[in-house]
Symmetry: C2
Subunit: 433 residues, 2 copies
């Protein structure tokens, strides 16, 4: 028996931001696509009925309440584009799944923070819960991990998962401008939200990497265990000096096996310029999957935006024509193991970058070197630039392998002695090729 | 209803080369994988029963005839790893599909040359015909194009699809050694077959790009329309001099919309060092998908080898647990359009690279420049190196945009005047970023 291609699925769209509007446009040009069946939009719901969206929504039935939309008889599938881990998004998805209706969602916060609960609802009613658009925009990584790569023993999933941070870091390198300046420009261009917190704090990337980790490792998502650091502390001088050492600073999200656990973390890292992630610039995203017996697979593409995200939603809608639902997180939720564990700071070993501005007085560099030496932190490479007329000399240090805690103790001493005029940045160096 | 996860599928493997052996190993460690059901190997077939393969096949029922294997009652799914567009591979797949049995195949020649016929058999009996392993090794591009990216209007699919050629070109650049020397070394290392024809002629890449084109454009595969050129004519000096112009020479396979047709071609091309394909070195493969509304997606990974190919087969086997078959080429075969058309050489416009060794006699360079000038071919950049004691001076020319036919007429004149001591190489320059 072949899948049923004659069917028309009636979509209800909850949330009409840029992605929702992009989806409406894509449904309208579906003849150009290669969908296995027909789609129609029957109802929509959003905060504002009148906002200008570049698409005509007057022909769709309007629902003030997205839960009402989810339960409407003329809605076969609910597309949840409201966003947020709780509130109306969660209520809408829950209502649909409980009613046995398939849900396609772009909501990374919901899946990362309530993934097991949502998966249980989907599995109980046999409804599809698909969320390709939640991670990596148009990069089809969720489905690849869940299906095509189910024959791979994954050892690590890593990547650049937040286009806003990547755009900011790329621009800071290109222009030498300060974080705040570049962020403001990104907001003006629409690459950053008016409230950029979720992006620049690393939370958005943390949601995404946890979703990938859950599928790749068959792990029960536990957002409380993800270690998260953002980009807002990084200075332009750090990026410029790292570049002189042939490194790029990226916000790297990763999940990897460590003993019997899977560690999950997001934070800035120096990657060598010949590393696959170093060339991923601007608003691009990239995901690297490593495992047996395949080695390394890299997926690169636009990680956000109306078109790419709407296309990912479309790919999920196409899946609905192809047969019964499978467990949303790959394995049935009851079989997901409690593997995700917080990295232990005391065990954090590696090579590190230190960036700071030294106070302009005699002996200050010797004090810095002594503080590091006393903690057994040995310097691999160092650049100190002229203080010029700023009265503070930019310095960048790459350490030999050591304990992160030792560097932190040295930096506490540096603070006490007022050796630097700013708060030094401590960034790990990615030493894997 | 959730997919049936309790089932055990019994596999019959036809063909036990390195991929078959890799698959047996992967089935044995399936507890580590994330398959939605259980797999067992019930029967195997190969040319030699006694060859050393690093896996114990004595516990599997042996079939001398792969068709007999396909029709055996204890075989639920046939994995065809025999290879070749005709002969036993085709007979085995046909027998299985006619009997309504799912087939997983790594056979690009079969799908490229008889894809419609095979798809028709699969659609008639409702059997799965899956061939992720036929293109790009472990890169899950076939399924991505068929499913996840079905909401994308593809304008171009391109890539590096033959690891052997890519390894040879990468090594020629690295070592400066001649094609024959590097090929022999590649054969010694197992990167090239004893009979390298299918690889170095570009035929293997042509099979693969045609498969991708069929799915991406909903096009009826027609192998006779693919323009194919290989790497065996390329000299080390071409690669070295192209590199001095900041280009890498790659065997590029591509399929793109041109008017109402899809043109499909494989051939060497100069790509700028900052082009996504330029950094794909050694035995890696890469696929670039361009389209609306996603822009560009790039997939990179190991394109061949026992482990990666076996993992791709595994991904297809996992698919069998997930529900009914879908049309093997994305669209039902009756709906595939006759879009694939041969590029028209008379219309081939672009910028070109010319590499040759000039005869060591006065006036020869003027003769070359005149031959080009007479045909309206204008020189953008040029390197001429010293003849040294070889008696022939390496020259490399990048032309301004012109008709390929004009360059060819000029080179015919060059041959007549015996301006070069070798047959000049004419290679297109990829001008898209």
């Amino acid at each position: 028996m072949m899948a049923d291609r004659a069917r028309t699925l009636r979509i209800g769209i909850a949330g009409l931001g840029t992605v929702g509007a992009g989806l409406v446009k894509l449904v309208e040009r579906q003849k150009e696509l290669r969908l296995p069946g027909q789609l129609s939009v029957s109802a929509v719901s959003a905060r504002s009925r009148t906002r200008e969206r570049g698409v005509d929504i007057s022909k769709f039935r309007w629902c003030d309440d997205p839960v009402e939309l989810a339960l409407s008889d003329d809605v076969d599938v609910v597309v949840e584009l409201i966003g947020g881990s709780d509130g109306p998004a969660k209520r809408t998805v829950e209502a649909a799944l409980k009613a046995g209706k398939p849900v396609v969602s772009a909501n990374k916060a919901l899946i990362a923070e309530h993934g097991v609960e949502m998966a249980e609802l989907a599995e109980a009613s046999g409804a599809h819960l698909l969320f390709e658009a939640a991670v990596g925009g148009a990069i089809p990584i969720v489905r690849a991990l869940r299906n095509s790569l189910s024959g791979v023993v994954v050892s690590r999933v890593s990547g650049i998962l937040n286009g806003t941070c990547n755009y900011i870091l790329s621009e800071m390198l290109k222009t030498g401008a300060a974080y705040e300046t570049v962020l403001a420009e990104a907001q003006r261009l629409g690459y950053a939200e008016a409230d950029p917190y979720l992006d620049v704090s690393g939370m958005d990337a943390a949601h995404k990497v946890l979703i990938l980790a859950s599928i790749a490792f068959g792990a029960r998502p536990d957002f409380s265990q993800v270690s998260v650091e953002g980009v807002s502390e990084i200075e332009a001088m750090d990026i410029t000096l790292a570049n002189k050492f042939d490194y790029s600073i990226k916000l790297v999200a990763e999940a990897f096996r460590s003993g019997s656990s899977v560690l999950c973390r997001v934070g800035p890292a120096l990657v060598r310029l010949d590393h696959p992630l170093a060339q991923v610039n601007g608003a691009l995203n990239a995901v690297v999957v490593e495992g047996e017996p395949v080695g390394r697979l890299t997926f690169t593409g636009p990680g956000a935006g109306s078109g790419p995200t709407a296309a990912a939603v479309m790919g999920d809608l196409a899946r609905l024509f192809e047969g019964p639902a499978t467990p949303p997180l790959g394995k049935p939720s009851a079989e997901l193991a409690r593997l995700i564990a917080a990295p232990n700071p005391a065990k954090d070993q590696g090579s590190f970058f230190i960036g700071a501005k030294l106070a302009d007085r005699p002996g200050v560099f010797a004090d810095l070197a002594e503080a590091l030496g006393e903690e057994g932190v040995s310097i691999d490479k160092l650049i100190q630039e002229s203080a010029g007329d700023t009265g503070a000399a930019p310095v960048a240090i790459l350490t030999h392998p050591c304990a992160k805690a030792a560097v932190q103790r040295a930096l506490a001493q540096v603070a006490e002695l007022k050796i630097t005029v700013d708060a030094p940045r401590l960034i790990r160096i990615e030493t894997r090729g």
